[in-house]
Symmetry: C2
Subunit: 214 residues, 2 copies
């Protein structure tokens, strides 16, 4: 067991954002950036940026700043994006298809090995050359293919059952879009996108802003 200090959730949420901004800088051909310059565009304090990076190592050079290319590569490594993942999508409604096309389009190392649904009319058809299979085959498929990540795009009623099959199939992480908090073993990573929660937070913010103007 390693004794790395646990990385706070706050930092975990900022890391992909750093990556995103560094990607933009890289595309612009910018070669170096200081914590102060990055602070200007990303909105975190320079101090926080340096603290965040130094949680994982020393990526800068005193008097100079950070090399964009190097830092981008290092953050990719930190995020575990220096490898590929085998994924399956369960539930091929609009959301499932959106996610399927999304990961397909961006080709970023999350490869869709299989699509699963319970609708007999969908089973056997394909999306981006990947065939839609019956839900009953999910667990065996995950085992035989060595699937890393299960993406849940079914409704809240079916989501826990899907999660159970994915866990039984040996996935290491679940990306959940059903509006429910899944129960899974603590050695399986879980990331939920609760769209309704997000919309309700927006509703709250709109209300708060109106209240301020009174």
């Amino acid at each position: 067991m390693s004794n790395k200090p646990k990385v706070s959730n706050a930092i975990i949420r900022r890391l992909p954002r750093y990556r995103r901004y560094l990607g933009v800088l890289q595309n612009k051909g910018i070669k170096k950036i200081s914590s102060n310059e990055l602070s200007e565009i990303i909105g975190y304090t320079a101090s926080q940026i340096r603290q965040d990076f130094n949680t994982f190592g020393e990526f800068g050079q005193q008097g100079y700043g950070y090399s964009v290319d190097y830092l981008y590569k290092e953050i990719n490594k930190i995020l575990g994006l220096d490898r590929e993942y085998k994924t399956v999508i369960v539930g091929v409604g609009h959301l499932g298809q959106a996610v399927a096309n999304y990961t397909y389009y961006y080709k970023i190392g999350f490869n869709i090995m299989g699509l699963f649904d319970i609708n007999p009319e969908k089973i056997g058809t394909t999306i981006n050359d990947v065939e839609i299979k019956a839900f009953s085959e999910l667990e065996d498929f995950c085992k035989s293919e060595g699937v890393d990540i299960g993406i849940i795009c079914v409704n809240s009623e079916g989501a826990q059952e899907v999660a159970d099959k994915l866990v039984a199939g040996g996935v290491k992480g679940i990306w959940n879009f059903a509006p429910i908090d899944l129960e899974i073993p603590k050695d399986v990573a879980l990331e939920s996108v609760h769209l309704s929660d997000s919309l309700h937070a927006l509703s709250f913010m709109i209300k708060s802003m109106n209240a301020e103007q009174e």
Copy 2:
């Protein structure tokens, strides 16, 4: 100008979750719940739950607990869900359609008044009886219909332009699914769902868990 203390982001993110759990309790026919019982199922400490609620008022009764029905209704009010919102969706790809069907299906006060796209083949067709219109009509439509919320489901290249039109059209909030941080006036609420950031956070968590087992 009201002098309500600004509600922290941490609380804003917990509120929809309280609502969700209270909805489940309500469906189960449960009439009262104590902060301790709620703590058991939602995972926050009882102390935090009481603190959160008391940010907005006194909703409980000493010696008894909280009435599920009453608390649910009050949290709805706090979130601004005691009214309806007029929305438009810009970008009717799979994600836009997923969101359209989602809000349509749950019928929760976010009414889709219009759908917009730049693809001439889609313009004129309908989804759930709502016609897809040309992007060029967006601003005028928002003004004339009094649209409250704009939902951005276009790619990152077009997103800022869409946001500008929505703001010009007078929307009060933007729900953004493009993987970019939009620049909008500070009196317009912005909630972004960065799917790629979410997926990358999952990747990080998977990596961290593997590291722990070493």
